[in-house]
C-alpha cells in the first residue's frame, strides 16, 4: 500500500515537472521577460556605474543590498563560531 502511494505521488510530481519543462521557452528563442534585465546590464552597466568590471558593477551597485546581506552573514557566522569555540575555555578570560 505504501509503495503504491509513494509511486503515485512520485509519478504525479514527475508529470507536473514535465508539464512545467514543456512550458519553458526554447533556448535562445524569443524574448522572455527574464532576459530583459541581463540585456540591460550588458548594454548599460559601464555607463551607469563607471566600473569596467561587470561583476563588480552588478554585485556592488545593482545588487549592493544583497552584498550587505553577505557581509552580515559573514558577521553572524564568525560570531557563532567564536561563541562555540570559547565555550571550551571554561571562563579563563581572553
Amino acid at each position: 500500500m505504501r509503495v503504491a502511494l509513494t509511486t503515485f505521488v512520485l509519478v504525479a510530481i514527475g508529470v507536473i515537472l514535465v508539464m512545467m519543462v514543456a512550458e519553458m521557452p526554447e533556448f535562445g528563442a524569443g524574448k522572455p521577460a527574464s532576459n530583459e534585465v541581463s540585456a540591460h546590464y550588458v548594454k548599460n552597466a559601464v555607463k551607469e556605474t563607471g566600473a569596467s568590471n561587470f561583476i563588480a558593477a552588478i554585485i556592488l551597485d545593482y545588487r549592493a543590498y544583497d552584498t550587505l546581506g553577505e557581509v552580515i552573514v559573514l558577521f553572524a557566522g564568525i560570531a557563532a563560531v567564536l561563541v562555540v569555540l570559547d565555550v571550551h575555555k571554561g571562563g579563563r578570560g581572553r
Binding site: V46, E48, T49, G50, A51, S52, N53, I55, A56, A57, I59, L60, D61, A64, Y65, T67, L68, V71, I72, L74, F75, G77, I78, V81, L82, L85, D86, H88, R94
Partner: protein, 145 residues
C-alpha cells in the same frame, strides 16, 4: 612546528602575497577580483605567518583584539557608505559614478572601490579571527598534554 626553511620562505613570500591581495582589492572594479577574493589572500598571508612562526608571534603582528575590531568596522563602513546615498536624497547604497574619473581608471566608479575595500577588510579579519581561534586551540592543547 618551527622550521627554518618554512620561516625563511614565508618571510620572503609575505610582502608579495600582501601586495597581491591589496592589488586584487583595489582593482576590484577594473579587473576580476574584489573584496572577497582579495580579503582571502590578505588573510592567507597573516595565517601563513601565524602558522609558521607560532600563534604568539602572529598575535604580536596582528593582535586578536584589532582583528575583531576590524571585523565589526568593515561591516559598519559598508553601512555608512550606504547611508551616504540617503544623505544625498537617493536610495540606500546609491552609487555616484561621476566621482573621480573615467571608467577603467583606478579612481573611478564612485562607491564601488570603497565598498570593495570595506568588504576586503571584513573578509580578511573574519578569516584571521577564525584561524587564530582554531590555531590557539591546538596551541593550548599541545601545552596541556
Amino acid at each position: 612546528m618551527q622550521s627554518v626553511v618554512l620561516q625563511t620562505v614565508i618571510k620572503l613570500l609575505l610582502p608579495f602575497i600582501q601586495v597581491y591581495g591589496l592589488y586584487i582589492i583595489f582593482h576590484g572594479h577594473i579587473s576580476p577580483g574584489g573584496g572577497f577574493a582579495g580579503g582571502a589572500v590578505m588573510a592567507a598571508s597573516f595565517v601563513l605567518f601565524a602558522m609558521s612562526y607560532g600563534v604568539g608571534e602572529g598575535f604580536k603582528r596582528l593582535p586578536r583584539l584589532i582583528a575583531q575590531w576590524l571585523e565589526s568596522l568593515g561591516g559598519l563602513i559598508y553601512i555608512a557608505l550606504g547611508l551616504t546615498g540617503i544623505l544625498r536624497g537617493a536610495a540606500f547604497l546609491t552609487n555616484v559614478p561621476e566621482w573621480l574619473g573615467q571608467a577603467g581608471q583606478l579612481f573611478s566608479a564612485g562607491l564601488i572601490p570603497l565598498l570593495t575595500t570595506a568588504i576586503g577588510l571584513k573578509v580578511c579579519s573574519t578569516i584571521v579571527t577564525l584561524l587564530y581561534h582554531l590555531l590557539e586551540e591546538g596551541h593550548y592543547d599541545s601545552q596541556t598534554d
